[in-house]
């Protein structure tokens, strides 16, 4: 019961408390204490009629206590209204302010990600540390430093001004996309699911932002293939995936969201990537259209990784020869997919020694088990 309340209410309670005391640190401790008190009392006294109001009120009282104890924060206390004076029946939803605070471009990118997962997602510091493969102490320091900067530099808890809003929304989306990509397809803390949950929340809070819908569509369309991407811990390329294992509800939802985003005028990188992902869920895949969309994406981003993905689509549309010429023109020699893509194309062209060498280079750069198994098997199949 409390777990569900925690998942559902953590971000709203924390946002209300940051709004109340204007200090992320104090608010977070207060929110945590409020949930801890709830865990002790609710099983005995019963769940209150309005759990959110109960948590916010308790949290406010905790925050005031903390501010009273802490002399350096005493000044802050004088500026606060007394908790009893604020009606809790209508607690404004300040999660959006909290998202913009956590994703403020004045914070280091890795701090934005960590803060967002902590504040909006309710993940614990050890969980975030595990997800990003850094030590708990390192993550703790990162979060502390970010909270200190928020306080000392006066990073505001409010909606950005209208002229700054589009760029600031992009910064939020970039954080959510980063979280999604970090968690896609591996079994640590489920960051992909967390990113989808946060993006859904954002889509509810800013309903007419077509870029938010496009990003959510992109996430759902990719995530729909999750169960098919690995078989027995080995990576399975798209063409060989078991389509029956795809989540067709997610695909349908992703499509519907993409349609809404496109109707609202979305044409940016998230929309284009979502459109590519959508085409790839169809059978047969319209590869020339995928190539055309990669052209658009490449024009938007100028990214050599996009050019590499485009070459993979060219291979499917026109064959491995033209694709290899495109790949060889790229300067991506430190990138494992560059070598695994070359290996695959060389194999199809029958140049086995060169394919073998390319698999070796890809294997040397690979960091995950699933990929290593896939590449090792492929290399062995060359004979």
């Amino acid at each position: 019961m409390l777990d569900e309340v925690f998942r559902a209410e953590w971000a709203r309670v924390l946002a209300a408390l940051v709004g109340f005391c204007r200090d992320v640190d104090v608010a977070e401790d207060a929110a945590q204490e409020a949930f801890a008190i709830a865990a002790r009392r609710w099983p005995v006294d019963g769940t209150p009629d309005n759990p959110r109001a109960w948590l916010v009120t308790t949290g406010r009282n905790r925050a005031v206590d903390r501010l009273r104890r802490d002399r350096t924060l005493a000044e802050k206390l004088r500026r606060l209204p007394q908790p009893a004076e604020i009606p809790v029946t209508t607690i404004p939803d300040e999660r959006l302010e909290l998202i913009f605070l956590c994703c403020h471009p004045a914070l280091a990118p890795e701090a934005r990600v960590a803060l967002t997962l902590r504040a909006l997602g309710g993940l614990s510091t050890p969980e975030i540390a595990r997800a990003f493969l850094v030590g708990e102490e390192t993550m703790k320091r990162r979060l502390t430093r970010a909270r200190t900067k928020i306080r000392e530099a006066g990073i505001p808890f409010r909606m950005p001004d209208a002229d700054a809003l589009p760029a600031r929304l992009d910064a939020v989306l970039a954080v959510l996309y980063l979280i999604f990509n970090q968690g896609y397809g591996d079994g640590r803390v489920d960051l992909a699911a967390e990113a989808i949950r946060l993006t859904r929340t954002l889509a509810e809070l800013v309903p007419d932002a077509e870029r938010v819908l496009a990003l959510l569509a992109l996430m759902l369309l990719h995530d729909s293939r999750r169960a098919a991407r690995f078989v027995d811990g080995e990576l399975v390329p798209l063409a060989e995936q078991d389509r029956a294992a795809w989540d067709h509800d997610r695909i349908a939802e992703g499509r519907a969201l993409l349609d809404r985003a496109l109707a609202a005028g979305a044409r940016g990188p998230y929309a284009v990537q979502a459109a590519i992902a959508e085409l790839q869920t169809e059978d047969p895949v319209d590869w020339p259209s995928v190539v055309a969309l990669y052209d658009t994406l490449h024009a938007q981003t100028g990214s050599p990784v996009v050019a590499l993905n485009r070459a993979v689509a060219v291979a499917a549309a026109e064959g491995p020869g033209p694709a290899l010429a495109l790949v060889d023109a790229l300067d991506l020699h430190g990138y494992r997919y560059f070598h695994s893509t070359r290996a695959e194309l060389l194999r199809r062209l029958g140049d086995l020694p060169a394919a073998r060498a390319a698999y070796d280079r890809a294997l040397a750069l690979t960091t995950t088990d699933g990929e290593r198994r896939f590449l090792t098997r492929r290399r062995a199949q060359l004979g």
Partner: protein, 112 residues
């Protein structure tokens, strides 16, 4: 809160500008100075005129020039009163040095 907007300029940023262009840039700096949130500010003379003072084993050591050779040199500052960082950043964004390859460091003044 109070913030210092520390302006770093690319050396030679004004080279090749005519008098009219220089005057227009100066007018922009003065207009910022007139904003009611700007409490103070100064433009420094060229870094060539700087003398750096250090204490080495109790002795004062003077060297010609700024404290470090950098791509950008500190050229002046504004001291502003702003509601929060976003408001200070919006003021900083109006500083002409940004258009000429320079940068502005926005730092809160301690204890404000």
């Amino acid at each position: 809160m109070r913030y210092a907007l520390l302006i770093n300029e690319r050396p030679g940023a004004y080279d090749g500008l005519d008098d009219g262009q220089r005057a227009a840039i100066t007018a922009e700096y003065l207009a910022l100075r007139d904003d009611e949130r700007v409490l103070d500010g100064a433009r420094l003379a060229s870094a060539d005129t700087a003398t750096t003072v250090r204490a080495v084993e109790g002795e004062l050591l003077l060297t010609d020039g700024p404290f470090a050779e950098t791509k950008e040199v500190f050229g002046g500052f504004y001291l502003v009163e702003a509601d929060d960082l976003d408001a200070a950043l919006a003021l900083a964004a109006r500083i002409p040095a940004l258009r000429m390859g320079g940068s502005v460091e926005v730092r809160p003044v301690a204890g404000t």
